[in-house]
């Protein structure tokens, strides 16, 4: 049933800085399915955002994709006909070339962690949305009954009134009150939650096949966060859009995603259905992460919250064998520090890379 949209295969991203080479993403493999939500969780600096940027071929200098491929199954036309797929390797597209620019925003949208600074301060919300639309030559307004006009519409520029209508419609869809007034608001006149809604409206205005949400609610307070998540879930259902949801908030991911990828130091350590992973985490790292969630009523008064012992390793000097072994409570001396674990199926549709589940 599930149809792959993006397949990341053995991706390596390296940053060649003065102090040495940092392997930000180290052999990452994952699949994002059409219309589904994939959650990506992990500590800060484990390569979540770099992976997202790699999909749009937007890795900041001096970073580089050194190995691997990102296969994008591009669907021609939005009529949903099967068998019309183009296959593009996004990692090999020319940086800032025409192909990747038409995919960015047009087919893969992205929203960021900082809604406060993601809008250009000199433009109103409406101008932002219209820019996104005009960059991809989209004309959602079509006159019924005029087929010639419809064909012409594919590349014609919209008029000012039409553009404004589109912007207002988009703002209404993301639940901004009084959209006909807010369309003329500058970013500094909007609250954080409203700005993030505008960002979502921009990303959705081109009806992308996938939305990359890079910690979209981290900077917002919990009530706004709940509203934003509701909107995203609702829009996903109506627009049949895949979401790659990056976060370090386990509560958020549990309510958003169908499938989860757990990352540690640029590698996927565990992958599976969200319920499976929360009920029965296999990798010691995932187990430790889940233990560190504070839970009401589960703990006695005065008991300390569990934390993962040790620190994330020095990125220039990664541990041998399994990168998690220095912090692992199940550390098996002589094995974990020597042998790199393989990707193993631990249950149906549930994978982990840990030597515990490999036969010796």
């Amino acid at each position: 049933m599930s149809e792959p949209l993006i397949e990341v295969k053995d991706l390596h991203v390296e940053f060649d800085v003065r102090a040495g080479v940092v392997k930000a993403v180290d052999g990452l493999t994952m699949t994002i399915n059409r219309g589904k939500t994939l959650g990506v969780i992990g500590e800060s600096g484990c390569g979540k955002s770099v992976t997202a940027r790699a999909i749009l071929n937007m890795i900041p200098r001096p970073g580089k994709i050194t190995q691997g491929e990102i296969i994008y199954h591009r669907r021609r036309g939005k009529d949903g006909q099967a068998g019309l797929d183009d296959i593009i390797d996004l990692s090999k597209t020319e940086t800032d070339g025409k192909v990747i620019r038409s995919i960015r925003g047009g087919e893969i949208g992205m929203i960021f962690q900082e809604p406060m600074s993601s809008l250009t301060p000199v433009y109103t919300a409406g101008v932002h949305i219209n820019e996104a639309v005009s960059l991809h030559h989209l004309t959602p307004v079509r006159k019924v009954g005029d087929q010639i006009a419809e064909q012409v519409a594919a590349h014609r520029n919209v008029t000012k009134e039409e553009a404004r209508e589109i912007a207002i419609k988009m703002l209404r869809r993301v639940g901004i009150p009084k959209p006909d007034q807010r369309v003329d608001s500058y970013p500094h006149q909007l609250s954080g939650g409203q700005r993030q809604r505008v960002m979502i409206a921009i990303a959705l205005s081109c009806e992308p096949a996938m939305l990359i949400a890079d910690e979209p609610t981290t900077a917002l307070d919990v009530s706004i966060e709940a509203q934003i998540l509701d909107i995203m879930r609702e829009l996903q259902e109506t627009a049949d859009m895949a979401i790659m949801f990056i976060t370090h908030n386990l509560g958020v991911i549990a309510s958003m995603a169908e499938e989860i990828v757990v990352m540690y130091m640029g590698k996927v350590v565990e992958q599976g259905k969200v319920l499976e992973i929360f009920r029965d985490p296999k990798h010691p790292y995932t187990q430790a992460l889940l233990k560190s969630i504070p839970q009401l009523g589960k703990k006695k008064m005065g008991e300390r919250l569990a934390s993962i012992s040790g620190m994330t390793p020095d990125p220039f000097n990664l541990p041998t064998g399994c990168v998690f072994h220095p912090r692992c409570p199940m550390f098996m001396p002589g094995r974990c520090d020597k042998v790199a674990p393989k990707w193993t199926q631990v249950a149906e549709g549930h994978y982990a890379s840990c030597l515990l589940y490999e036969e010796a």
Binding site: D96, R101, S117, K178, D184, Q189, I202
Partner: protein, 380 residues
Amino acid sequence: MAVAEQNAPAIPVKQKQVSQSYWSLVWWKFRRNRVALIGGIILVAFYVSFVFVPEFVSPYALEHISDYVEAKPTRIHFVDQNGKFHIQPFVYGMTRKIDVVARTRTYVEDTTVMYPISLFVHGDAYKLLGFIPTDLHLYGVDQKSDPKAIILLMGSDALGRDWFTRIMIGGRLSMMIGLIGQIMTIIFGTVLGVASGFYGGTIDLVIQRTTEFLSAIPDIPLFMALAAAIPTFWTPIAVYFMLTVILSFVRWGGLARQVRGLILSLREREYALAAKSAGASDSRIMFRHLLPGTMSHVIVIATLAIPSMILTETALSWLGLGLRPPLTSWGVLLQDAATVRAIHTTPWELWTVPFILVIILAYNMLGDGLRDALDPYGSR
């Protein structure tokens, strides 16, 4: 937030949401700065009168050569010899006295004839704004009835031309060169500065070393070399245009460097990344998203730099390197007043100086006001 607004009581509150754009905030703040406002008004008045309608403001045409050579400024009277007060000011006629021994030429007032000064008089024909034929002048004395009538508010030059007329007409070139030159500097400086800051690397290196090279050359010799390169057979207008290009060519470096610094910080903002992820091209990110963020700074720098542009033109023309007669600019006029003899015998030829001072002070007043106003969120 949204929930609260939806649950608000259903009483229709008529409240027009005024969208305060950045520029309306700037204008609101600028208006409260009286000094800057005065500077701005002076500049507007100067530019309108000197650039667009100097022929109308001055009483004569530039080519109007009178019999009164090196005459001192005409005095304006309200009270005549008999102690009678006139509401309409008037001037007396002038008679020339030549002292053969001292070899001087002086003019004395001939109190027997009186010429009333009136507004909107008919005089020399000219074309207003270059295409409306007219002969109206703002002020003057009636020349039609008595050809000897003359008013020289700031005296006359060695050919008998009205000095005030020459200052008015000369102001056009001097003031335009500052403005046009500065606009060209802004274009060179921002485009190169934005590219330099946005791309970094080799492009940045080349542009920055070029600005350093240009700023390392002493100004005056560089101007001399460039001005000497202008072919002598060119028309005065071509020379004038070339001079503006030279001025801006030498001066873009500082602006480019400041814009580069601003872009270096702006390009790391999330909105640059957001624009990129929306599929915007490099030039779109640079000029639509990043450049507006530098504009307030550029405008202030540019406003404060125009006076130095005007002064440079004046200095170059004074040295004989810039504009040359028959073109008239303030630098050319000052050249006439550059000798000790001129200062001694015809000191009114220094009337050009106050005009230059006023315009430069006005620019500085405006520039300071803009600097405060363009940061409307700042304190003060």
